[in-house]
Amino acid sequence: MARSISRRSFLKAGAAVAATSVLAGCQPGLRRWVTLEPYVVAPEEQPDGIPTWYASVCRGCPAGCGIMARVMNGRAVKIEGNPEHPLNAGKLCANGQAGLQILYNPDRLDAPLLTAKRGSREFARLPWDSALSTLAAKVKDAGSAVAIVLGPTTSGHLVDLFQRLAKALGAPAPLVFDARSSWSGTAALSAANQALWGQGALSAYDLGGSDVIYSFGADFLGAGLSPTRYGIEYGRFRSQPKGARGYLVQFEPHMSITAAKADQWVPIAPGTEGLVAQAIARIIADEGLGTSDRIARAAALAGEINLASAAQAAGVDVQQLRQLAQVFAEAQRPLAIPGNGQSGAAGVTAAQALNAIAGGAGMALQGNPPAPALVRAEPAGYGQVQHLIGQMGSGAVKALLTYGTNLAYELPAQAGFLDALDKVGFVATFSPFMDEMGANSDMVLAERTYLESWGYAVVAPDFGVAAVTSQQPVVQPLNDARSAGDVLLAMAKQIPSAAGAFTWSDEVAFLREVAGGLPAGAAGGTGADAQWARFLQHGGWWPASAPASQPTPPPSASAPISVAAPQYQGDATIYPFHLHVFASPLLGISGANLPWLQGSPDPLTSMCWQTWVAINPATARKLGVQKSDVVRVTTPYGELEAPVYAYPAVRPDTIAVPLGQGHTDLGRYAQGRGASPLALLGGDAGPDGEPAWATVRCQVTPTGRSVNMATFEWTPGVEQGFFNQGYPGE
């Protein structure tokens, strides 16, 4: 792409300075002339030195926020939230802001790669046409034995195309899964709503209008379902009319930023969120707290429970539970926000039941997409993943296609994914980076990043306003990578059985057809072309006026919900501690290759670039370790080594380790840095198909080594600085 050199653009001056050293030779006189290199054909839409804004979608997480990319002289220099967008109203979270480093990441792939020996990490570059033919041949051979796994951030049209491919081949429908969706409890939440309301959809919570919120281990301000929107909601929650600021209670063994902002943080034992929720519901029923219909619903929904044992299991006293129950029952608009259900889906259901008991005000169930043709990546439960792994292991899967998910890294080693992978004949991965999945594939198809490609996202959870976010390239593709959509279309044409199902010339044609089904929205425009243009220009589709929020239907659940006490994995005598694995708000699970996210301090520990083991100072003293001493954390399933961060806001009997580091691939910023707690988790699902990752016990042994810990804070200063004077100067 031809570069225009403008004075303001020091970058190109930089390039030119380099150039001049060459050019100086052929210039008269001694002065080195900087070269000025205008376009061959100037792009109409980008006047020199004037920023152009393109609306698109953020793929940092599945929420589907609208973004505006500021493009100057052909370069995307900044991402902002799309102010018109109903979901994020011009706001954006850290992950969204960091998107530019996905686009301009130095470790991007620029050509399809093929390896002779899977896992050898020795790849040969292919020309696209031969890559396509190879892929087509493999897929054709596999036929109905093709398995497809997608990430939750996959664009709707790709999900659609993959589904059509699977259908054409007679293969099982694509599976959507990644660790983030599991940690934000997407599948568990849908399941719970299915159980309670008969609608297997996500639900969103209007914090702004609520006075009491109980969050059962949901870090909705951090790496949750829709961080940006919940951030906005939290802002409204804290400044309500007449100075009311709501009351937030967080039940969680380790203080997340949500717990940090809560008015009351109840550090319960890991895996007991559900018990506490049920106990509260039960108390409401038994002690007749709140309005009569709440009591009635509570009586119907809350199964029998032994308060004393529940309280004891959770590590809170019954009196406190009573108080909490009373506060909840007597609140005007109470809300319960369920966690990720990694100790069993029943827990999530129990939490949701509290909303049902409260009357469901302030809770919105996800509606259907505004156009029938629109598709959304619905994350699957862990059970289905296990099933797939089983299939692979049994050799029933001949070809595996993955897009936008890094299963090789994001599943616990115990899940046996890699072993099962060996049984699969052919593995192809669509990815802009050489991640662990790619490294364990036969073929890696260099994918464009979301800022260079087309698509759409159905906003989920939508907060009562159904919306679709449009996705368009904001810059010229940086390299020869191709969008999966076009690759699929081209490939399918070479597969007789599928060719008929893929008639579109390219993905944009397909997109236009799909988006054509949208009714008139806020963007307006008459006629297909105008509508399409407005769709892209305004960053998506949403109703011209926000619909009145329809009340949540009364629960259709038949049986009362009762949560089993958590079955901890590991012998308490050998493994004295609980293990709490969490996603840090900045790094999340997949951000390890973005320097901005790596290099910026975690808000609560100020750690950069590293994995840390959060241990309560009292416990650390008992173990004889202190900050930056390296410890070995061992569970029945595996072990890792990482430095200690003495974290005063974690239960003394709990060890917390963040996700996101410990990559063996994924480029220079991620590789060989820190450790991944996924190594500590078991592969088996709990009783009801959810991963049992919150109920693992562990043991901690000092290694005697210690490292330089990259904390941005000066820990001694914070500890012995101004002896608990709150903010300096306040």
């Binding site: 011009g90 530019l100 804290r238 320097p595 808000p603 670039w609 005063p648 903010y727 306040e730």
Partner: protein
């Protein structure tokens, strides 16, 4: 035309701040702030024009976390200004900003010593962006060289752009046209920005309505910061 003078001011509502750090990344993207590698962070050379400071307050067996976003306070009487021997940092009277002129800075680092908020960051090494990360750099902001001090500028480049647009149209700058990157992205709107010289601006009303919660960082030093903090509130229900 007599150009308006401004009193750019920021209000930080600690009750709303969730510590999500979106502001931190937004600032890095907008202002070409280099990322510092692990070892240098350990040495205490991390660079974030806006940072979220976390203080613990004892609370029974555990602690309460207090989140405090700290950026350059743009003081009316800034301690860092008079000590600079070359006017590399000085007070812009018309914008009422504390300005850092990178190309004038010789790197005595005196300003940082005398800066009670420690919001000035020094380029210990030539900043590095692996190709093609450098293509993201914002052309409106100078990339600092090694050996110069840098700090939050309230996104003065945005102010400049807006003012140039206004000048080109021969009108006064409307303060509501300007918003720094951190404020623009902050999901809970914990950060607010505006011109106090404009009586009916949003922040003017917010400040008027929150007298009880207001304080300014280390105000007792008499630095007269342009950043106002609103204390986190307490809700005690039942318990």
């Amino acid at each position: 035309m007599e150009l308006n003078t401004h009193k750019w001011t920021m209000v930080i509502d600690q009750d709303r701040c969730t510590g999500c750090s979106a502001c931190v990344i937004a600032c890095h993207a907008e202002n070409n702030v280099p990322i510092v590698d692990e070892n240098q962070v350990w040495r205490g050379r991390g660079m974030h024009w806006i940072r979220i400071e976390r203080y613990w307050e004892p609370d029974g067996q555990y602690v309460k976390a207090r989140l405090l976003p700290v950026l350059c306070q743009q003081c009316d009487s800034a301690p860092c200004e008079p000590v600079c021997p070359v006017f590399a940092t000085y007070h812009s009277e018309r914008q009422n900003l504390n300005v850092q002129v990178y190309n004038r800075c010789v790197g005595t680092r005196y300003c940082s010593n005398n800066d009670p908020y420690k919001v000035r960051y020094f380029n210990f090494f030539p900043p590095q962006w692996d190709e093609p990360l450098n293509q993201q750099l914002n052309p409106d902001v100078t990339v600092r060289s090694a050996g110069v001090m840098e700090k939050c500028s309230f996104c003065v480049q945005r102010i400049a752009r807006a003012e140039q647009a206004a000048l080109a149209e021969g009108r006064q700058l409307d303060p509501s046209e300007v918003v720094p990157a951190c404020v623009q992205t902050c999901p809970p709107s914990a950060l607010l920005f505006g011109d106090l010289n404009d009586p009916n601006s949003q922040i003017a009303s917010v400040l008027a309505g929150s007298k009880g919660r207001q304080y300014r960082l280390l105000e007792d030093l008499g630095t007269q910061p342009s950043v106002y903090y609103l204390k986190g509130g307490e809700t005690n229900v039942g318990a």
